[in-house]
Symmetry: C2
Subunit: 239 residues, 2 copies
């Protein structure tokens, strides 16, 4: 289940009902804090970052035992979230007593960031995670290169972390081969959460801004422009 970017106003009624009906709510503690007021009286299993497999396996085990379990993702569970891992673990287990899994979509981080920036995703776009924890960097880099060549608007999850700082700089260099240095770039940090921050920059300079694991970066296509503080990718209407 997806809680959306963080503010309860962006969490769907379907997601709220899933919590209400749950016997057990499982999630990364930072995300559970965002929906604390919905969790009163609920059994909770909160774990730290990087413990995705243990967390989801515990949820699947409890569901096998007959509990109605909700696994919480931020944003959309189907976009770099927990939907896949839960399904993979369910399928790995025995076919008998396989728990029924329902994916409840949420407002994705990329949708939330785009809304704050204006309308950068009005044309074809590619969504890429720069984390090389689970994917070789060469695969990611090739995707960046081909997406730049195809003139996709590009949205980057996990653009940078404390330990991983070079990738976003390489992205900048690769995309500069295909797009103008003045191409608009939007950086949204902590969308809808306390500390929300929206920056409009350009391809030449954006890596000089604060970018971290709470940021989402959107690079415009060849038609994207900024006007009055908004980032706009035209759809192609003759106005």
């Amino acid at each position: 289940m997806g809680i959306g970017p963080g503010h309860l106003s962006d969490m769907t009624p379907r997601a709220q009902e899933a919590i209400q009906a749950a016997d057990l709510v499982v999630g990364y503690d930072t995300y559970l804090e965002l929906i604390m007021e919905l969790l009163a009286g609920k059994e909770i299993l909160a774990t730290g970052m990087m413990q995705e497999i243990d967390r989801c396996q515990a949820a699947v085990d409890q569901a096998r035992a007959g509990k109605n379990v909700v696994v919480v993702s931020s944003g959309d569970p189907g976009v770099y979230g927990m939907a896949g891992l839960v399904l993979e673990l369910v399928m790995k287990g025995p076919a008998e007593q396989r728990p029924d899994v329902q994916i409840v979509p949420g407002i994705s981080a990329v949708s939330a960031a785009a809304a704050l920036l204006g309308a950068p995703l009005m044309h074809d776009f590619a969504v890429i995670s720069l984390s090389n924890l689970l994917t070789p960097w060469e695969v990611i880099r090739k995707r960046v290169e081909l997406a730049a060549q195809a003139d996709f608007v590009m949205a980057f999850y996990n653009p940078k972390s404390t330990k991983r700082v070079t990738q976003i700089e390489e992205v900048r260099e690769v995309v500069l081969k295909y797009r103008d240095a003045a191409t608009p770039v939007g950086i949204v940090r902590q969308a809808t959460r306390s500390g929300e921050n929206v920056i409009l920059s350009d391809l030449a300079h954006f890596t000089q801004e604060t970018i971290d694991m709470f940021s989402l970066v959107i690079i415009g296509n060849s038609q994207t422009y900024t006007a009055n503080g908004r980032m706009i990718t035209p759809r192609g209407y003759q106005l």
Copy 2:
């Protein structure tokens, strides 16, 4: 403002509050029908399909005149929706009395379709509209080719209409150059609406299924598989 895929359970509280606060609600009549019960007593401007510019211009004019106006998009207004057109029209007008525009994100059609299919978008993906009404087909075709080469999961909006039937067949041929004929393909029609239909097929055969302007098509990457009726793209965890 985005209403999500169609069912009120997937429309966020923020979107519902926007409607409540509106003096005027503007939208394509088919989408307004989906949220009819929220519109009691509201001033409404409903127009037919393909009248996007007139509709959004009327909304901007009324906002300039001081009204609180909501423009309704299905899915996410930021993904092939009305967010861009509204901003473009606002920026084209005079800078004085420029109405303040807020984009309220919604559950996108691609998120809704992915949730019904399982977890196809767990890795990098490209979103492409096959409508050549506003974009030359050669640009779209090139994007398909490069996205296929980059091993992106691919999601297609507007895959086919009554008059436009050849593009999805070309997509199949292009992607077959880079991916196995058994690559899973999901087709979701009318997600969360009456007539909802979910089909799992493969790259060799999917164009034989019913695909129309209410369908969203997702082609898996080289790692995507199906299990127990679900389409799953592994994120890369060692399980």
